[in-house]
Subunit: 320 residues, 2 copies
C-alpha cells in the first residue's frame, strides 16, 4: 500500500564539524519520502517556489515518489540555515525563510484521497486537520509536531491528536504536551488524548514505542560516521511508515520492525549531508543493519531456577 | 564468587521534586554493595567517621556484606548534599565534605587479597592502583571514573586503565577521555587504552556495552516513579558485577545479562530515596523485570526474501 506525506520541501544550508553544504535538498516531506520509497510508493503534498531546481524533482520521481500534490507557487522555496556543533545532537537554527510555505494550503489531487497510510509532517495542526478532511478512509494516520505548536496552537493540536492513530515526538515534546516530567507518564497521558501508539524519538539514544500493550525500545544503530543529523527524525518516520504500508498489517510485531526500520533509515541519513547517503542504500545494506540491530539487542533468558541469587539473601527474602 | 568494592560510604542530604532526606545512607560503595548482595557475598574497602550510625553497619551486614575493610577513622563521615530539578537527569551538587575520605588510604585485610572480582569505585586513580597492588590474582577488574580525574590525574588514570578489564563511564566521560565526539569512536579508543570491555551508562536512556565483538544495547527499565536518581550508576555497577561474580563465567551472553541486571537494580534504586527501595527487592521482582526487559527489546526476524522492498526500487538497486 502507498503512503501519503504532507510537509516541507526545502533548500537547506548546513554546517557541521565535518563540512558544509549550501542550498541542498531538504525538508521533512523530502527525507520522509526518500526513506519510505525503499518500501512503497509515496505521495507528497507540499509546496515549492519557482526557484526549486528541476533535478530535485527528477531524483524523487526516479524513486516513484508521486509529486502531483507538490504545488509550484510564485515566490521562493522554503529555506533553512543551521549549524551543528561538537555534540551533534542539537541543531542551532541560524535562519528560517518560510517564503511560499507561509501561504501553504494543502489541497489533495483526486488521486490522493484514497491514501491508506498518512503521515502529517510537523506543520500547523490546523493544516494537519485540513489534510485529514480530504482523505476518504485512511487505515493509519501518524503525525509529528513540535513545541512551537504545542505552545501556540494547543487547541488545534488537540483536534489533530483526537484524529490520529500514532504520534511521533521527542522526550521534551512529550513532557511539554502532557505536563508530566517522566517520559513513561507523559506517553501514557498522550495515549489518553487520541493516539493509540506514541513513538518517542531520542536521536543518538534510539527510540521507544508505547501503546496499551506496553513498551518497545530500540537503540540507535551505532554508526561511527555521523556527518549531518539533519533529517534523521523524518527519515525515521519515513522508514517506519513505509515499512508498515508495505507489509500492510499493523501488529505488535510489525510495529516493532517498523521502529527498527525507522532507526536504520535514520542511521544512513546521518552518515551524509542532505540525501547523499539516504538516497543510496541497497536492500542488502538495510537487511544487514537490521540483522545487526537484532543481534545487538538480543538477551538470552536466565535459567529458570533461582540459583543466580545469593543463597542466604534469596532464602531470607523469599521467607519475608 | 565474591566481589570486592572500594569506594565511598557517605551520608547524603538530597532534595528532589518528590521529597527530601537528611543525612541518609549513601556513597558509591554502599549502593554497589547492596545491589551486588542479591547475587553474591561482597567485601567493602572504605572509610567512615566516628559519627557513622551503627544501624547502617547492621543493614549491610544483614546482607552478608563483609565490612572488615571499612575503617572507622577519627573525624566525620564523608557528606554529600545535592538537588535534582524537574528533568531529574542531572544532580546539582550543593556541598561536598570529604572529611575522613580526604586521607583515605585503602589497606586490604588479609581475607580480601584473594578477591576474584574487583570494582574500583570512582576515587583517585592513584588509590585505585594501590588497591590493585594488594590483590593477588583477580579474575576481572572493573573501574569507574569521572571528568575530575580525567582532567586532573590523566597519567595515573592511564595506569589504572592499563590494568583493568572493564570500564564504566557515561557519554561525556568517554568523549573527554578519548578526545572523540562520537560515542562509538570514543569507546573504540578506550579499548586501545587497556580495558577489553567498555560500558557506557546513559541514565534514563539505558546502557551500551562495547568490546572487540561488537555492541550490546539495553534501554533503561521504564519505571514511572523516579523519586531520587542518586546511586543509580553505582547500583548498575553492583548489579552487573554481582551477577557476573555469581555466574562466575564471563561470556558474551553473561556480559549482556549482567548489563540487564545492572539496569534493573538501578531501576529499583531510583524508585526510592537512599537505599529504601534497593534494599527491599525480592528475587521474584527482579526476575519479573528481567523478563519484561527481554520482552520489550525483542525484535522478530524479517522474512528471508526481499518482498518487503518496493519492487522497482529493489530491482533497480540490485542491478546497480
Amino acid at each position: 500500500m502507498s503512503v501519503l506525506v504532507v510537509g516541507s520541501v526545502a533548500l537547506d544550508t548546513v554546517e557541521t564539524p565535518f563540512g558544509a553544504r549550501e542550498e541542498v535538498l531538504g525538508g521533512s516531506a523530502t527525507y520522509f519520502s526518500m526513506a519510505a520509497s525503499y518500501f512503497t510508493p509515496v505521495q507528497v503534498v507540499g509546496v515549492v517556489g519557482r526557484d526549486f531546481p528541476e533535478r530535485h524533482f527528477d531524483l524523487l520521481k526516479s524513486r516513484r515518489v508521486d509529486l502531483d500534490g507538490l504545488t509550484r507557487a510564485e515566490g521562493r522555496t522554503f529555506r533553512w540555515r543551521g549549524r551543528y556543533c561538537n555534540q551533534m545532537n542539537e541543531a542551532q537554527t541560524l535562519d528560517t525563510e518560510l517564503n511560499v510555505f507561509e501561504q501553504f494550503n494543502p489541497v489533495l489531487p483526486a488521486s490522493f484521497v484514497d491514501a491508506p497510510f498518512v503521515f502529517l509532517g510537523n506543520i500547523d495542526p490546523t493544516l494537519q486537520c485540513r489534510v485529514l478532511d480530504q482523505i476518504a478512509h485512511p487505515r493509519l494516520v501518524a503525525a509529528d509536531t513540535m513545541n512551537f505548536w504545542i505552545n501556540r496552537k494547543a487547541e488545534a493540536l488537540r483536534e489533530t491528536l483526537a484524529r490520529i492513530d500514532l504520534l511521533f515526538v521527542n522526550d521534551a515534546e512529550a513532557r511539554s504536551l502532557s505536563g508530566e516530567t517522566s517520559t513513561v507518564r507523559a506517553a501514557r497521558q498522550i495515549l489518553r488524548m487520541g493516539p493509540r501508539v506514541v513513538v518517542i524519538k531520542r536521536g543518538e539514544y534510539g527510540a521507544l514505542l508505547l501503546d496499551e500493550q506496553g513498551f518497545f525500545a530500540v537503540p540507535a544503530f551505532p554508526t561511527a560516521d555521523v556527518r549531518d543529523p539533519t533529517g534523521a527524525g523524518d527519515s525515521f518516520a519515513g522508514g517506519f511508515m513505509g515499512f508498515l504500508a508495505r507489509v500492510g498489517e499493523v501488529t505488535p510485531s510489525t510495529l516493532r520492525q517498523a521502529v527498527a526500520m525507522g532507526t536504520l533509515l535514520a542511521s544512513f541519513t546521518v552518515e551524509g549531508f542532505s540525501l547523499e547517503r539516504l538516497s543510496d542504500v541497497t536492500p542488502t545494506q538495510l537487511l544487514e543493519r537490521f540483522n545487526r540491530l537484532r543481534a545487538m539487542t538480543s538477551l538470552e533468558p536466565l535459567p529458570d531456577d533461582l540459583a543466580i541469587f545469593e543463597d542466604a539473601c534469596a532464602a531470607r527474602l523469599l521467607e519475608g
